[in-house]
């Protein structure tokens, strides 16, 4: 009796465990638990309700389970979107809705199995014949299912194939290098006529630059002679309105590379407040 319902009990425990793991667990475990909670367990539970027993073969069960597993979160998500309850599509509402769906489905499946165990119920409503939804080839004759022998050469070839696929992903994923010229310069208006100027160095190496700031045509000193920005780092500096009385002329920031000190590398500006032409 217990063994007959072990799959349902196991699924219920797995559902609760997946719910807990999806809330707080290491990333890999959390991903596995989420796939289980979101797709595998709803598909399994609904299949137990709708197609109890073994009326279809393993491939058909897997297919229908996967299809139900992909369809259920979509329907629940759409339902949450339409519910008008204000619950919305939140992590908690989705996880709890799915958990409830799975647990209710498992409960219904359990009750149906119990009912089919009960001789009185069986007399009152004969159970559907456990006719296989036989594939046409079953109708034609028995098919040998399986045939996968886990012998060393097979396993070695399988492992080699999988390693090659992983290696392929590694080769494809590892070949994108950051460009040498990815250096951003920006200026954003601040409060009371001030501004913020920033540099991002997205190139693979640290960069040394000379930053020239002008306000109303007058040059503003910027800390030291050179600005050094490490690879992948951001440098920012506030520009205070008090530093100059040339604010009506607007701010201009020009970046020069050390190896080409006379050629503006990047230029940005904020316009003058009196709408005169840009610098």
């Amino acid at each position: 009796m217990l063994r007959r319902h072990a799959d349902l009990a196991g699924a219920a425990i797995a559902t609760l465990a997946a719910l807990a793991a999806s809330m707080a667990a290491p990333p890999v475990l959390r991903t596995i638990a989420t796939v289980g909670l979101l797709i595998v367990l709803p598909g399994f539970a609904l299949l137990q309700v709708l197609l109890p027993g073994r009326p279809v073969d393993r491939a058909a069960r897997l297919t229908l389970m996967l299809a139900l597993g992909l369809a259920t979160p979509i329907l629940i998500g759409i339902g949450l979107g339409f519910s008008g309850t204000g619950l919305g599509f939140r992590r908690e509402t989705v996880a709890l809705s799915l958990t409830l769906t799975v647990l209710v489905a498992l409960l219904v499946a359990y009750r149906r199995r119990r009912a089919s165990d009960d001789p009185a119920a069986a007399r009152a409503e004969p159970a559907a014949p456990d006719t296989p939804m036989a594939s046409p080839m079953r109708a034609a004759g028995p098919t040998k299912v399986g045939g996968w022998r886990a012998d060393p050469p097979s396993l070695a070839l399988l492992a080699a194939g999988l390693l090659l696929a992983v290696g392929a992903l590694n080769v494809a994923g590892g070949s994108a290098a950051p460009p040498d010229d990815l250096v951003q310069l920006w200026i954003l208006p601040g409060t009371a006529g001030g501004a913020t100027v920033g540099i991002y160095n997205g190139s693979p190496d640290a960069g040394q630059y000379r930053l020239e700031i002008t306000a109303g045509g007058a040059s503003i000193p910027v800390g030291g002679e050179l600005v050094t920005v490490a690879a992948g780092a951001t440098w920012e500096m506030p520009l205070l309105a008090e530093a100059t009385d040339g604010l009506r002329g607007g701010w201009t920031a020009t970046l020069y590379r050390i190896d080409a000190p006379a050629v503006p590398f990047r230029t940005v500006w904020l316009p003058p407040s009196d709408a005169s032409p840009n610098p």
């Binding site: 229908l64 939804m133 109708a139 999988l162 392929a168 494809a172």
Partner: protein, 650 residues
């Protein structure tokens, strides 16, 4: 062993992009060594036919791994601008496809092994797309759906307006599933999307195999039919991208299988399986418009034919109620949620058919096949294989449809598929039109279910004794169809991750654009109104979380604003009407013609182009009074228009 040590040495000393090119020189001997060892291993231990078969399947996993590795090297070389790269891509595809095709055509695999092989083929070809863009989304449509999923996570609600593709948020099935997976697992949206589409691909292979097996009564014919289906032009790239059709189509196939499985089942089992099918159909409807329409159409066709040709001897189920459910659900969703779908699809379909009629009546010249928007013509071999694939399909359809009639005319679903296969020439004709080419390509992905079934019905098991080259010839033919599908299905400039080109969709996704989108999100905040070219629009609208202003979404001519050489009244009007806060420009657009055919959006000024964008179109913003240039990375510049109003002098 010496080669392996050499590879390890190279891997230690140099970055992947460099050793990917070097590895090619060393790969040949290594592969030969491994193949030789595997062959001798197989020969030595083949004690029983069952064990030999199992090992052959494992061997095919191994060959698929080699195929993927070769494709990856081709991709890595292409990304680094090292030639040749494309021959490796094609070689890898063939190594992936041909051995599995050979096995599926053979008699030795049992049913389980055939299922394993179709899954291997489906997932292997899915990985080809992943290898193309391993670090995230790069395909044009993917950004639109990414935005819908991100909006669901940000707002906790569905149907937030999507400025990149307004229709996407009205069909949020894929995004709901992906957002839930991302939110619960902590995976980034693009990783969650890859996982969801991968599960969809697994479902597709299983569902199609079982559907074909149910119809054909033969696992071998089913395996070959799935093999032929995988040769359709959308299979390798289009149906592998993060897009609503990529998930809706597998679900639709599963619904069809579930209903087909009701035949010959006990009444109670049939009733319950129908409920499963209805649940799946209910999930297809809010996931993708065209798939739900085609599924409803297929069910109606199946039901009508079943009513016209009842066959009590077969106890075939006629899916009248599921067909009614599909039609009602689809119509209800269209009327209540996604009415704008008509405005979205209408121009594609009507415009395409109208253009086709004008081509037929000689009023206009048709679109040139195998020629891209810049006038570049595909190589001779690609044209030959592309035409060859079409000729082989058309040539096989006639005996295929005859075979369906001869073998399966008592099955209404088989007859429905046969009728659908007749639509293939129409989908081909649409390829001769500029406006209908996309509809034709999309249609062929659905029609290929019918085409694959008809071709497999004819090609497998037909008695044509006495020709020893029959199987190799069929294998060569299906390989040509497969290669032709890849050639026809994806632009030559986009198949490999070649170096940057402006306005070239996946090839335009690079670090500058990504970093600028990231900068906009962190420094300007989400939801700013941007005018942007096609590529930066997708990046700003997704990773940048900005709201691009467009003609198709806001009825504002931002293309004119961006492409005009001067900043005049019309351009200022576009800024004010569209409440444009920022404009992003890309100076690289002035260097080359747009491979996608346009810089901003359809109907932009200057189409079709014979020269790149003028520099003045970019530099005019520097001269505009009161406009701030707040960002500069050498290629991209962002201008702040918030200080502009109608009184601003020009």
């Amino acid at each position: 062993m010496r080669q392996v040590r050499a590879l390890a040495f190279i891997a230690r000393r140099e970055p992947a992009a460099m050793w990917a090119s070097r590895i090619t020189a060393h790969l040949g001997p290594v592969v030969l060594d491994v193949l030789s060892a595997a062959r001798s291993g197989l020969a030595a231990v083949s004690r029983s036919p069952a064990a030999a078969r199992a090992r052959s399947v494992s061997f095919l996993v191994f060959t698929s791994g080699i195929g993927l590795f070769v494709v990856a090297i081709g991709d890595a070389r292409a990304r680094s601008g090292i030639e040749p790269s494309e021959p490796l891509f094609w070689l890898g595809l063939l190594v992936l496809f041909v051995p599995v095709a050979w096995a599926l055509w053979a008699k030795w695999p049992n049913r389980t092994q055939r299922i394993a092989l179709v899954i291997l083929l489906g997932l292997g070809l899915y990985l080809v797309k992943i290898l193309h863009s391993p670090s995230g989304f790069t395909f044009y449509d993917e950004f639109s759906h990414w935005r819908t999923a991100a909006d669901i996570l940000a707002t906790d609600h569905l149907f937030a307006p999507n400025p990149l593709q307004p229709i996407s948020s009205h069909y949020p099935g894929l995004e709901v599933l992906t957002a839930a997976l991302s939110d619960l697992s902590g995976l980034p949206l693009d990783r969650a999307g890859i996982l969801v589409i991968g599960l969809g691909r697994l479902l597709l292979m299983l569902a199609l195999f079982l559907l074909f097996e149910r119809l054909a009564g033969s696992p071998r014919r089913a395996g070959v039919a799935v093999l032929l289906y995988s040769a359709n032009p959308s299979f390798v790239f289009f149906h592998a991208q993060f897009s609503y059709e990529s998930l809706a189509f597998p679900l639709a196939a599963a619904a069809l299988y579930a209903l087909a499985a009701c035949s010959r089942a006990a009444p109670d089992v049939a009733k319950r399986t129908t409920i499963i099918a209805l649940l799946i159909i209910a999930a297809v409807v809010p996931t993708h418009h065209v798939t739900s329409y085609i599924l409803a159409g297929a069910l109606v066709g199946w039901a009508v034919i079943g009513r016209l040709r009842p066959d009590p001897a077969l106890a075939q189920m006629t899916p009248t109620r599921p067909a009614i459910f599909a039609v009602v659900a689809t119509a209800a969703w269209l009327a209540l949620v996604a009415w704008s779908t008509l405005g979205y699809l209408g121009p594609h379909l009507i415009g395409g058919l109208d253009e086709l009629l004008r081509v037929i009546t000689g009023q206009t010249s048709g679109r040139r096949l195998f020629e891209d928007e810049t006038g570049l013509v595909a190589p001779m071999w690609e044209r030959a294989v592309g035409y060859g694939a079409v000729i082989l399909i058309l040539g096989g359809l006639v005996p295929g449809l005859k075979a369906v009639w001869r073998l399966y005319r008592r099955q209404p679903l088989a007859l429905t598929l046969a009728l659908a296969a007749l639509g293939y020439p129409v989908s081909l004709a649409l390829r001769f039109t500029s406006r209908g080419v996309e509809s034709g390509a999309r249609l062929s992905a659905f029609l290929f279910v019918a085409i694959a079934f008809a071709l497999a019905a004819w090609a497998v098991g037909a008695r044509r004794k006495g020709w020893r080259w029959r199987r190799p010839a069929l294998l060569a033919a299906v390989s040509v169809i497969f290669l032709g599908g890849v050639i026809v299905g994806f632009a030559p400039w986009a198949r490999l991750p070649l170096p940057y080109r402006p306005a070239a969709d996946s090839r335009s996704i690079e670090a500058h654009g990504l970093a600028a989108a990231d900068w906009a999100r962190t420094h300007l905040g989400a939801g700013r109104r941007f005018a942007a070219d096609r590529t930066n629009r997708q990046l700003l609208g997704s990773y940048g979380r900005q709201d691009p202003v467009t003609q198709f979404g806001n009825s504002v001519d931002t293309a004119g604003l961006l492409l005009s050489p001067t900043m005049g009244q019309d351009e200022l009007a576009a800024v004010l009407e569209g409440q444009v806060e920022f404009v992003i420009t890309d100076i690289r657009l002035t260097t080359m013609l747009p491979l996608a055919g346009l810089y901003v959006e359809s109907g932009e000024p200057g189409q079709p182009r014979d020269r790149p964008l003028e520099l003045a179109a970019i530099e005019k913003f520097d001269l505009a009074t009161g406009v701030a240039r707040i960002f500069d990375d050498g290629s991209l510049r962002i201008y702040d228009f918030r200080g502009i109003d109608a009184s601003t002098p020009r």
